[in-house]
């Protein structure tokens, strides 16, 4: 985890710019690059146009929500295996199941702290590198 490697590139899709900036700063401290994206519509344009290692995706966004962005990511050949962490204020089992069924690697429910999120990011990145297929799972605890 602390070995010098290429910095992972992470897209943060979040309509609260302060929240996105806080997450981006924390990821930078962890040695990760991040790109902030203010909404789902913009995310549809950005995903696939630049190399990414992971997407942090808020669900509740105006116009195009996180579910729609996730569907786009999974249905596009170039990004179908791109790890996605979904963020939501909802702990409703139906919402969690929907996110996971659409292919989210993790579903993190608010409130969570930066360390919680960084661990999920590291898990996704390590699982992608590991020889075994990535374990997919939700996390309604965080």
């Amino acid at each position: 985890m602390s070995h010098p490697e290429k910095e992972p590139s992470i897209l943060i899709v979040e309509d609260d710019p302060l929240f996105a900036a806080l997450v981006a700063t924390r990821l930078r401290i962890e040695g990760m690059q991040s790109i902030e994206c203010p909404g789902g519509r913009e995310a549809l344009e950005m995903v696939g146009r630049r190399p990414l290692d992971l997407v942090i995706l808020d669900i509740m966004m105006p116009e195009v929500d996180g579910y729609q962005v996730l569907q786009h990511i999974r249905s596009t050949a170039e990004t179908a295996r791109l790890p996605v962490i979904m963020l939501s204020a909802s702990t409703e089992p139906a919402d969690v199941e929907k996110g996971l069924a659409l292919g989210a690697n993790y579903y993190v429910t608010k409130p969570f702290n930066a360390a919680d999120l960084v661990r999920k990011v590291r898990l996704c990145l390590e699982e992608r590198k590991a020889p075994r297929p990535a374990t997919r799972g939700g996390d309604a605890r965080s």
Binding site: A114, L117, L123, A130
Partner: protein, 396 residues
């Protein structure tokens, strides 16, 4: 000057303690307060530990259980293991490890972890230059319209392009969310019950956005069958410190009861809006509140703005000049009584700004939002937060 780090090293193998101790002791720029412990005999107090190093031995499961236990304290957890298996790494992260190194860790690797912890300290405690202002609205008599003022002052601040957070500290009957027609998923209760996990990201994820652009951390609904939420002064200061680092203005609504959280908010406020009506009981409560603030070392002349609410100018009110004389402070604002506007706004969950016509009440609140800080104010703010930190340091 070397930065101090409190480090706890947990291992069942004493030989490995010495190895880590020697490496940590030689890291430049850091002075290590190192404690070593055998986890089979307990890990002790983790509250003030910056870094917990967990040695994963030949049986990874016990080390992983230990990580799961210690990471809940909020300390940064570094897993050290001879096991290079990626599965062990993934399990360690799942258990709660923040960093993972192959043992024996080299000095540059450990130094990188220590630098990260140092950087995270700054991330969680922004410096004075990044701070905004804390404005506390306090009506010691109760029922004088503090919440109406907070809701509408917040909207006025947002309209003036100042990023604004609202904090409802009224655990007795806080209803700022209701005033703004916001339904909340999370409240102050979630913050307090997860206090060891609190950071800026956690705090922001408990707040709800209002259409004006401000964000609210709502008070919990008091449960009928449970005790009231207790918020300590230390917790209040920590929350305010985080909010203050993220917003131009943090606007705090307080109950009339001088609870520990209310007192903490008042003593670290950059501006106190003391809300009263022009009658004897309300002014008497304000006099007592001012006496208490002076005793706490608050410079009331530069910090407190007296706001008279529901002002009618009728003969049965105590004249404003007489009220100012009794309080020993000038009256900063007279907010006119406008029941039609105030009640319409409250009952529709709207700020006054969203009513059809601009009212004198709204204009008076907008005027109150304009405050040009003078050098004296800046000095006052710095002093207030120094007081905040020194009180934290003096705690046993």
């Amino acid at each position: 000057m070397a930065e101090s780090l409190d480090v706890l090293c947990l291992s069942t193998e004493p030989a490995r303690w010495a190895e880590v101790k020697a490496t940590l002791g030689g890291l430049p720029g850091f002075a290590m307060n190192l404690r070593v412990a055998d986890p089979r005999e307990g890990v002790g107090d983790l509250r003030h530990v910056d870094l917990v190093i967990v040695m994963i031995g030949t049986d990874p499961s016990s080390g992983l259980r230990l990580i799961d236990h210690v990471h809940r304290s909020g300390a940064h957890v570094l897993a050290l293991s001879h096991d290079q298996n990626p599965e062990t790494l993934i399990k360690a992260i799942r258990a709660g490890a923040d960093d993972y190194l192959a043992a024996p860790a080299s000095p540059p690797e450990l130094l990188r972890v220590c630098i990260k912890i140092s950087t995270l300290r700054a991330y969680n405690k922004p410096d004075d230059a990044a701070r905004g202002e804390v404005w506390v609205v306090y009506g010691p008599k109760g029922g004088v319209g503090s919440t109406t003022l907070v809701a509408n002052l917040g909207v006025a601040l947002c309209a003036a392009q100042r990023s604004t957070a609202l904090l409802d500290l009224d655990v007795y009957s806080g209803d700022l969310a209701c005033f703004l027609n916001l339904s909340t998923n999370y409240t102050l209760r979630d913050v307090i019950t997860n206090f060891q996990r609190l950071d800026a990201v956690f705090l922001r994820s408990t707040m709800i956005a209002h259409s004006s652009g401000m964000h609210l951390l709502a008070a919990p609904t008091p449960p009928a069958d449970q005790p009231l939420l207790e918020v300590s002064g230390e917790q209040t200061q920590a929350i305010l410190e985080l909010l203050d680092g993220m917003h131009d203005v943090t606007l705090v609504d307080t109950p009339g009861v001088p609870s520990a959280s209310t007192r903490a908010a008042l003593t670290c406020a950059d501006r106190i809006l003391l809300v009263t009506e022009l009658n004897i009981p309300a002014l008497g409560s304000c006099v007592r509140a001012l006496d208490w603030l002076r005793a706490e070392g608050v410079d009331v002349a530069t910090t407190v703005d007296v706001v008279v609410n529901k002002h009618t100018g009728r003969s049965w009110e105590i004249p404003a000049a007489e009220a100012a004389r009794r309080l020993g402070l000038p009256i900063r604002a007279l907010l006119p009584r406008d029941d039609a506007a105030a009640w319409t706004a409250i009952n529709n969950g709207l700020p006054l700004h969203d009513l059809r016509a601009t009212t004198p009440l709204e204009r008076a609140i907008v005027d109150l939002a304009q405050r040009n800080p003078s050098p004296a104010d800046t000095q006052s703010k710095r002093t207030n937060f120094l007081r905040l930190f020194s009180s934290a340091e003096s705690r046993p």
